[in-house]
Amino acid sequence: MENRIDRFVRLSALLTGFAQLHLLGTGMAETYLRAADAALPEGVLDELLAAGSPPSAGSASPGGPALPGTAARPGVSALAGGTDPEAAAGQAILGDAKLGPVARTLILLWYRGAWTALPQEWHSAYGAAPRDVDHVVSAEAYQAGLQWDAAGAHPAGARQQGYGAWASPPAALETESAPGTTAVRLPRQAGAPTVTEGARS
C-alpha cells in the first residue's frame, strides 16, 4: 500500500501539473504535508488523499471513510474511467464543497510556498485548525515555489541564474511530464537578439 507521502505527492502532481519527481525534488513534500496537517481539521487531509487515490492504490473505499455529514465520494479513476486522472481530479475534488477549497490551498502551497487560509464559510461548515492562517511556510518553502519554475524564472533573491542570464530569452520549460499530463512549452523567440557583452573583457 502506498504510504501517505506518496499519496500526497501523487495527488499534488495531478493538482499542480508538475511531475512527482519534480515535486519530490523540491524537498518540500514532507514539510507541506506537516503544514497541511497542522492547518486542517483532523481527517480532512486523509479524506482528500483518499478521494485522490485510484482504487488500485489500495483504498477500499475510494472516498475514504464517510465522516458525519459527508457522503462517500467516488475516487478519481472511478469517475474518469482511468483516461485523464487530472480532469478526473478536477471533477472529483475541486468541485467538491469540502475538498475543493482544500485542494486549491494545496495548489497555492506548492506554487507559492505559503499557506493560504481557507475561507470563513469553509471554517463554519467543516471546522478550523489553529494554523489555518496565511503564512509563508519557511524560507526554504518560499524558494521552492513552483510559480518561479512555471515562469521560467527563479525566486526573487535565490536560485539566481547567473551574470547576464537575464539578457537571454527565457528558457523553454522542461518537458518532463506527470502521468497523463502533456508537456508544456513556451514559445521561443524567433530571431531574439543575443547579448554577449558581459563576456567581453
Binding site: 512555471a150 526573487a156 551574470y163 537575464w166 513556451l186
Partner: protein
C-alpha cells in the same frame, strides 16, 4: 553600559552610517582624523552572518516590501510603506496627501534596500528657475559637481558605459569611463527597444523621440582597467577585523530591493569597511537625540546619544560624544528631526521645510511575446528622454524605469497571478501550469517617477504629543502634491499608454486590481502613486544664511562646526534618484572638512578659517 566612546577624543563625530556618513568617515580617517560614527539602528548587516539572517528574514516574510529584511529596533523605529494605508507607524502623516516613501535605520542605511540606480542630475536640473522659471536654482552647477560625480561613481562602483550616458547635456571629461562595464540589458529591455526606439511623443507641443536606455547601476559587473570590485563585507566590530570578499558580480537575483543576497549591489557598509579602521570607531545602536550648542559661540559642543543593548527594548543609557566638528548624516527626515528636537529651528528657520520625493505611478501590461519577466536585476534600463525639455516650464519631468520583476510591485505577482488562476479561473494541473507559463513571462512593468518641486508647506515637524518608545519625536509630515507634479503624472500616464500601444502590450494598468496606493486627483482623473524613497529638501543648501540651512559644503550657516549632509540639502532633485548626487556632495564636503580640520584652528573660535 561602559562607554569608551564618551571618554575618547575625536576630530569628527558623525551621526549616521549610511552612504553619506560612510563616505565622509572613510575620507577623514584616511586623512588622519579620528572619527566616531554613531548609528541609530543595529549593525547586523556588517557581518556575513548578520546579513544572512536578514536574507532569511526576507525569504520568510509574508510581504516582501522594501522593509521586509530590515526590521527596525524598538529604539530606532522607521517608516514602513505598509503603514501608509493604516495611518499607523512611525510617521505622523498630517496630510493633505500621503508621503509614500520609507527608509532604513540600520548600519548601511537605505543603501541596504536601494535599487542601485546611479544617475547624475542633468545640467538643467541645477538651473530650474533660470531656465524654466519654476522651482529653484542650486547654488552649484553641474560643472561644479562633475569631478565629484566621477569620484562617487568609483566609490560606489558604478557599472555603465559613458557612450550610453552622455545625453541631455551630461558631459564627461575626455577619457573618463565608469569603473565597470554596463550591466547587460535584460531580454525584456531588448524586446521593448525593438518596438519603442525612435517612436515620438509630444509634450506641450514639443516632439520627443524615445529610446530604451541602459542606466548606470551600483552593481558589480565586469571591471574596467585596474578597478577592483568590492564584494560582501564581513566585519568584526570589536576586533576591527575586516574581510571583503572580492569580485562578486551581479548574479541576477531579482531582489536588489529589498536585499541583494550576495552584496553585488553597493551598500554603505562597503565604504565604511574601507575606512582606516585604526582611526574609526563605529557605534551601532546609538540613537542621536540632541545636538548641544554653546549659547555664546553658537558652535556645537557635543552630540547626545542613547545607547541600547537590546533591539527589542527601549532600555538605554544616555551619553555625549565630543569632537571638533560634527556631521549629521542621519537621513533627510532624521537630520531635520534631530535639529528640531535640539531646539535649533527658530520661527523662521527652514529646517524641515521643503520635503520632496518622486511620487511615481505604475503602468503594467501583458506583452504579446515573452519578455522573460521575473529575471535579472530589478531594472536594467529606463526611458530617460522625458527628464528634460521645454515642457518643464509647464509641468514636471519624469523618468520611466522598466522593470524586470514582472508585476511584483504592482499587483504582487507572480503570487497574485497564481492565486487568480487557481481561485478565480478555476485552473489546476497542466492547464494551470501552461497558463502561467504562457502569461508570467509576458508581464511588463513601468515605474513613472515624477519630479516634485520644493514647497515650504511640505515639511517635517515635531510635536511633543508624538514620540517614540525612547521619548524621541516621531516625524510629523505635511505633504501636498501640487499641479506641477500632477501635470507630470498626467503626461507620464499618457506616454505609458502610447508606449504600450506601440509595443502591442495589453494595458493591464488597473489601480483597483493592484496593490493599495495613495491617490491624488487632477481634473477628475485619479492617480495612484507610490514613493520612490527619494527624500529631499529638508535642510536646503544655498548661497546665503536666511535663505538656506547649509552652504554649498553642507556646512550649517548658524553652527559653523556642524555639517548637515545628504539629500536634505537638495534645492531640487530633477528626476534622478538622489544617491549618486548626495555621494558626490559628501565627497565634496569631506574634501572641504579635511582642509578645514587640517587648518587646526581652535575649534570653538569658529570663523574665519578652519573651524
Amino acid at each position: 553600559m561602559t562607554e569608551a566612546a564618551e571618554h575618547e577624543e575625536y576630530d569628527v563625530v558623525i551621526a549616521g552610517a549610511g552612504v553619506n556618513g560612510a563616505l565622509i568617515a572613510k575620507h577623514l580617517t584616511h586623512a588622519g582624523f579620528r572619527v566616531l560614527v554613531l548609528e541609530a539602528g543595529p549593525g547586523s548587516a556588517w557581518s556575513l552572518d548578520g546579513y544572512s539572517r536578514h536574507l532569511d528574514h526576507f525569504y520568510a516574510a509574508a510581504s516582501k516590501g522594501p522593509e521586509s529584511p530590515w526590521p527596525p529596533a524598538v529604539a530606532a523605529p522607521q517608516p514602513d510603506t505598509a503603514d501608509i494605508r493604516s495611518g499607523a507607524g512611525y510617521f505622523v502623516q498630517s496630510g493633505p496627501d500621503k508621503y509614500g516613501s520609507s527608509y532604513t535605520r540600520a548600519q548601511g542605511g537605505s543603501t541596504l534596500h536601494w535599487l542601485g540606480v546611479c544617475l547624475r542630475m542633468l545640467p538643467e536640473d541645477f538651473e530650474l528657475r533660470s531656465r524654466f522659471g519654476v522651482g529653484h536654482d542650486w547654488p552649484l552647477r553641474y560643472g561644479d559637481l562633475e569631478p565629484y560625480y566621477g569620484r562617487a561613481e568609483h566609490e560606489i562602483g558604478v557599472a555603465a558605459d559613458v557612450a550610453d550616458q552622455a545625453h541631455h547635456g551630461i558631459e564627461f571629461p575626455d577619457g573618463y569611463d565608469y569603473p565597470m562595464r554596463r550591466i547587460p540589458l535584460s531580454f525584456s529591455d531588448q524586446v521593448l527597444a525593438d518596438t519603442i526606439d525612435g517612436m515620438r511623443v509630444t509634450l506641450e507641443g514639443e516632439s520627443i523621440a524615445l529610446q530604451v536606455r541602459s542606466y548606470p547601476a551600483g552593481r558589480n559587473s565586469v571591471p574596467r582597467g585596474a578597478y577592483q570590485p568590492v564584494g560582501a563585507v564581513d566585519a568584526d566590530v570589536d576586533r576591527h577585523d575586516m574581510i571583503t570578499h572580492l569580485g562578486e558580480r551581479c548574479a541576477g537575483n531579482t531582489s536588489c530591493t529589498p536585499i541583494c543576497p550576495i552584496e553585488a549591489k553597493y551598500n554603505a557598509g562597503k565604504t565604511l569597511a574601507q575606512a582606516d579602521r585604526g582611526k574609526l570607531r563605529v557605534l551601532a545602536q546609538a540613537v542621536v537625540s540632541k545636538v548641544s550648542v554653546d549659547p555664546v559661540s553658537g558652535m556645537v559642543d557635543g552630540i547626545e546619544y542613547q545607547r541600547y543593548a537590546d533591539p527589542a527594548s527601549p532600555r538605554h543609557t544616555v551619553h555625549t560624544a565630543r569632537g571638533r566638528a560634527y556631521v549629521l548624516a542621519a537621513h533627510a527626515v532624521e537630520n531635520a528631526k534631530i535639529l528640531l528636537a535640539s531646539g535649533l529651528g527658530g520661527d523662521h528657520s527652514l529646517i524641515g521645510k521643503g520635503l520632496i520625493d518622486h511620487p511615481a505611478l505604475y503602468a503594467w501590461g501583458l506583452s504579446p511575446v515573452p519578455v522573460g519577466a521575473y529575471r535579472g536585476p530589478l531594472s536594467t534600463a529606463g526611458i530617460e528622454d522625458l527628464r528634460a525639455g521645454a515642457f518643464r516650464a509647464r509641468h514636471a519631468a519624469f523618468r520611466f524605469d522598466i522593470g524586470n520583476d514582472g508585476w511584483r510591485a504592482t499587483t504582487g505577482g507572480p503570487d497574485s497571478s497564481v492565486v487568480d488562476a487557481v481561485t478565480k479561473q478555476g485552473l489546476h494541473g497542466t492547464k494551470l501550469r501552461a497558463h502561467l507559463a504562457a502569461t508570467l513571462p509576458r508581464h511588463v512593468r513601468f515605474s513613472l517617477a515624477v519630479e516634485q518641486l520644493r514647497s515650504e508647506a511640505n515639511a517635517v515637524t515635531i510635536d511633543p504629543r508624538h514620540v517614540d518608545a525612547m521619548g524621541n519625536p516621531r516625524p510629523v509630515i505635511s505633504y501636498h502634491i501640487d499641479d506641477y507634479t500632477t501635470g507630470g503624472m498626467a503626461a507620464a500616464a499618457e506616454v505609458a499608454r502610447q508606449v504600450f500601444r506601440q509595443a502591442g502590450i495589453e494595458d493591464c494598468t488597473d489601480p483597483e486590481a493592484g496593490g493599495w496606493f495613495p491617490s491624488v486627483r487632477r481634473d477628475g482623473e485619479v492617480f495612484r502613486y507610490h514613493g520612490m524613497g527619494h527624500f529631499g529638501g529638508t535642510h536646503v543648501m544655498g548661497h546665503r544664511a536666511g535663505e538656506s540651512v547649509v552652504d554649498t559644503h553642507q556646512r550649517s550657516w548658524e553652527h559653523r562646526n556642524l555639517y548637515v549632509v545628504g539629500s536634505g540639502s537638495f534645492p531640487t532633485m530633477g528626476t534622478s534618484n538622489p544617491t549618486l548626487t548626495m555621494a558626490a556632495l559628501a565627497l565634496r564636503t569631506a574634501e572641504h572638512m579635511t582642509e578645514a580640520l587640517a587648518a587646526r584652528q581652535p575649534i570653538r573660535q569658529g570663523e574665519p578659517s578652519g573651524f
